[in-house]
Symmetry: C2
Subunit: 226 residues, 2 copies
């Protein structure tokens, strides 16, 4: 089972790694990390770098197309190379898996028109503007498309997908393998229940230009060809 994880400059590492930690342990999983250019891809914090060791031209088709999000997802919405790659792989994929605002990139590629999906809470309107029906769920399946809420929701959605693919016993075994019996020190049921003051802090960060700040900060590491 071939699993293709898309990386791009400014992705959020947990978006990619949460689901990878689950799907990578499926029987016969073969995971590849793919980007427009094969190098060490810098994340949104610029301190984290992940190896993309295949480029778009090297992947003809795949079983699971996995698209994470992150602040760097926004420029991908108009990156025709990425959008064409997604359209091409989605055509024959068995599953297409979108995490966080990775769902927005899938939407921009035009593959979510009339489909029902979830996404991170602040990308809901944008995803809907591409013609998708957005539901505020932790994860959601519409046919072969499985989408999740923000960042850490990739873990929940990937366990759901793992059960669809390999059955409950294997999915629960993977859950034990990553000891996913979450117990956050404080919790709300969903982002919609979080106090307005906390939402405001995030909005203020967005307004001071999180993406712009990221784009003008050099990665902490060299980025050789891989």
């Amino acid at each position: 089972m071939r699993i293709t994880v898309l990386l791009f400059d400014g992705f959020t590492m947990l978006d990619a790694v949460g689901g990878y930690a689950v799907l990578g342990w499926l029987p016969d999983a073969e995971v590849e990390f793919v980007a427009e250019t094969k190098t060490v891809i810098a994340d949104d914090l610029r301190s984290g770098g992940m190896a993309a060791w295949r480029d778009y031209s090297e992947v003809e088709k795949t079983d699971i197309l996995y698209v994470p999000g992150g602040p760097g997802g926004r420029p991908q919405l108009t990156n025709e190379a990425t959008l064409a790659f997604i359209r091409r792989l989605h055509e024959t994929s068995t599953w297409t898996f979108g995490v966080c605002n990775g769902v927005e990139i899938l939407a921009a590629a035009g593959i979510l028109k009339g489909r029902t999906v979830t996404t991170n809470y602040y990308a809901r309107e944008s995803v809907a503007s591409f013609g998708a029906n957005v539901v505020p769920a932790r994860y959601h399946r519409d046919g072969k498309i499985v989408t999740t809420a923000g960042v850490s929701a990739g873990i929940d959605g990937a366990l759901f997908l793992a059960r669809l693919i390999a059955g409950e016993e294997i999915a629960k075994t993977i859950q034990l393998g990553i000891e996913y019996y979450p117990h956050p020190p404080f919790s709300y049921a969903s982002p919609d229940d979080v106090p307005e003051s906390i939402h405001n802090t995030i909005r203020a960060a967005e307004e001071t230009g999180l993406l712009e700040q990221m784009e003008t900060t050099q990665p902490c590491f060299p980025q050789p060809s891989l």
Copy 2:
């Protein structure tokens, strides 16, 4: 606030990334990924690679020493370079944070004697053999040492640590940022409640030589100097 994440061949990526996704968003966080050799470090699945862009000699001291685990943690238990690095940084660290069997590496470095810690469920006996008191908790604090259960527990433990460092409002803001309102498709309260049949599957994988298999599988990517 300097945060030093240790990487080593065969680490588990979610062990390192779960807590990084939280602590990296603390105000004034400066995260560095450190290994014995500066290169793209291969994870346990061999498909994932993360940039270690500082080596042991380049880090004199730090505020948070962060040690993840993984199957590759076992050889580190006798790697004197790693153990000496941990002892040296722990001496002046403000916090020492161990995730999964990363706690076993801390124990092997000799810094957990008489301390109360948690760890992943299958490393409890080993950690206790180094003189630590092991409790079966999702995360635990003993003075400046914060430890967590396996893999994904790094997220919960890091949110707990974030609250200690920066207060509840900021920790909850980070929780919203990573949308950590977990809702696994099936759940148990803890690994101790998982049916024996599922534990047996994991034990069988261990017995067929998960570590050996990993060590004899080449990483999927080149590993240039960084």
